[in-house]
């Protein structure tokens, strides 16, 4: 790889051991993928250090101890416990204490300890052509597809990229990767994030690791709908980017989305394909323990929508209604009185984590000394195809997918209300 003097200084240890470790890793990654050089990044969404994984918080503490610092603006991904309100989730205090140690490490690293999968709703909004890195595939696809920034689906190396301000030039940092590989035309009237989540799940499974171009919308999808579309696509496949012509910068139309190459024959997506995703996540169940809204972590607009749905209502006895949002969005909701309306209806507003990311997961292996015991859940109702997949895979209990409006109806009536019951 062709390295600048500044990059060689880091590689050879003249910028300290932390940057040397990071640059050594990035050079090996770049060499593996044929990167000719590094690019300067403008933003990093990085690993939290997760309390449910053995010695994972320590991983971040080790970096802080050798004076690692973020060279660019950095936000922090979702964590394993609500560090303030853990009692509301039934988590042991030991888990919240360990998760708070990660927050201490991030304070030293200089990252904004957002503990969220939607840092954009917390003010981290990279702009067109900004090279960046993200450990969270939903953030990668939102930033590539809605904001026009340039990101791969990264792992831990998002931390190394943040520490050096560099990333090897490969994948979605290159123009030639940012072109459509398949065309989908929506022939259904979609409304709201849950429908877009199902659309994304369907398209993501069909496109694999390509770039789907999605057209046919009756109107420009909202930011919340685009967020849900991306989360769905990234969940069922390996895609890092979608293109909605006219919305995704800089692609004005379908021809531009394919970059001058032949436009492939369109694949229609009708209502049946959307309903099939809802039907895929409709397990047999005896009773519902939790209804969940806010995957990915809810935006301010979604919080207002939930409050309107819940005004004058009351969550049924024996059911918990969880609304997950970043602490920034939670605080905004508190300031505006929205949080009080949600809580008056009996909802729990949880930050830093979500059902699939918290101590409910059965696929993790924490330090036994933490005393983490996943509860037996009889069923979880969600409004996101992403959360549905991971509740089934990680919590390993029955899951039912519906719309946000129907999920609120479910929580207040105690009976599952499917999306197709409208």
């Amino acid at each position: 790889m062709d390295l600048t003097q500044a990059e060689r200084d880091m590689l050879e240890g003249r910028e300290g051991p932390a940057r040397q470790r990071a640059m050594k890793g990035l050079v090996q990654l770049g060499r593996a993928y044929g990167a000719p050089r590094m690019v300067e990044i403008g933003y990093a969404h990085i690993h939290a250090g997760m309390a449910l994984y053995l010695e994972d918080v320590e991983l971040m503490e080790e970096l802080a101890a050798i004076d690692a610092r973020m060279a660019v603006p950095a936000s922090v991904n979702i964590a394993n416990a609500d560090t303030v309100n853990w009692r509301a989730t039934g988590a042991p205090e030991s888990l919240a204490r360990l998760q708070r140690r990660a927050a201490g490490a991030h304070a030293r690293l200089g990252s904004d300890c957002t503990f969220t999968c939607t840092p954009y709703w917390a003010g981290h909004w990279p702009t067109w052509n900004t090279h960046m890195t993200s450990i969270e595939s939903t953030v990668t696809i939102f930033c590539n597809s809605v904001l026009g920034a340039r990101s791969n689906r990264d792992g831990f190396f998002a931390v190394y990229a943040g520490m050096t301000g560099r990333y090897p030039l490969f994948g979605y940092h290159r123009d030639d990767m940012r072109r459509g590989t398949g065309l989908f035309v929506v022939e259904a009237d979609l409304a709201g994030p849950s429908d877009f989540s199902c659309l994304g799940f369907h398209v993501g499974a069909a496109i694999g690791d390509g770039v789907p171009v999605v057209t046919g919308f009756a109107r420009r999808p909202s930011l919340d709908e685009l967020d849900a579309l991306g989360a769905g696509i990234a969940t069922s496949g390996g895609a890092s980017m979608f293109i909605v012509p006219g919305a995704t910068p800089p692609f004005a139309d379908v021809e531009a989305a394919f970059g001058g190459r032949d436009v492939p024959a369109p694949t229609p997506v009708g209502r049946a394909a959307i309903d099939a995703v809802y039907a895929r996540y409709r397990d047999a169940h005896d009773a519902i323990d939790i209804v969940h809204l806010g995957c990915p972590h809810a935006s301010w607009e979604e919080m207002k929508h939930y409050a309107r749905l819940l005004d004058g209502r009351r969550v049924a006895g024996g059911i918990e209604l969880w609304i997950t949002a970043s602490r920034n969005v939670r605080n905004a909701a508190a300031d505006a009185g929205v949080l009080a309306r949600l809580e008056a209806a009996g909802a729990k507003v949880i930050s830093d984590t979500c059902p699939m990311s918290c101590h409910f997961a059965r696929t993790v292996s924490p330090d036994p000394a933490l005393g983490v015991v996943p509860p037996r859940l009889r069923a979880v109702v969600v409004d996101s195809a992403k959360q549905a997949k991971y509740v089934r895979d990680m919590i390993q209990c029955p899951v039912l997918l519906t719309g946000a409006e129907e999920a609120v109806e479910t929580a207040c009536s105690g009976r599952f209300v499917p999306r197709d019951a409208r």
Partner: protein
């Protein structure tokens, strides 16, 4: 007699251990129990086998954005493979997990290694920059 096979180096380092040839691609997220290091996925040639300390050879890696975390968790639990040889270029998440865990990785063998691989025989992988050698004890 030792046979040497040249490969493309991906992650630097050197390691030695018994060979575990897998006919199927292993996904570190889902196919392996991090607590025991054993393959729990439906992979007929290696199901039930432990990955701890082995020189793991497989045709390709199965992609998942979370693979790095589970490979690193295998390492933190003392159950990681000593080295990984993949027929084709591994996906970036596996590469990141291997670098983080100090596990050497190589791919693209210069000759077909499969006729030479004996389950459990000692092997060593040495990777320097983009050059790698897999040494197989006879």
């Amino acid at each position: 007699m030792t046979r040497r096979i040249a490969l493309r180096g991906i992650v630097e380092g050197s390691a030695r251990g018994p060979l575990l040839p897998s006919r199927e691609a292993i996904s570190f997220l889902g196919d392996v129990d991090i607590r025991s290091g054993r393959v729990v996925g439906d992979l007929p040639s290696v199901r039930g086998r432990s990955l701890a300390g082995v020189v793991l050879v497989m045709p390709y890696t199965r992609g998942s954005a979370g693979a790095w975390r589970f490979l690193h968790q295998l390492f933190r639990h003392g159950n990681a493979p000593a080295a990984i040889v993949s027929g084709t270029l591994p996906d970036p998440s596996v590469v990141q997990g291997a670098i983080l865990s100090g596990i050497p990785v190589a791919c693209d063998p210069a000759e077909d290694p499969w006729p030479l691989l004996r389950d459990g025989a000692q092997a060593a992988l040495v990777v320097e920059e983009d050059r790698a050698v897999l040494e197989l004890d006879a």
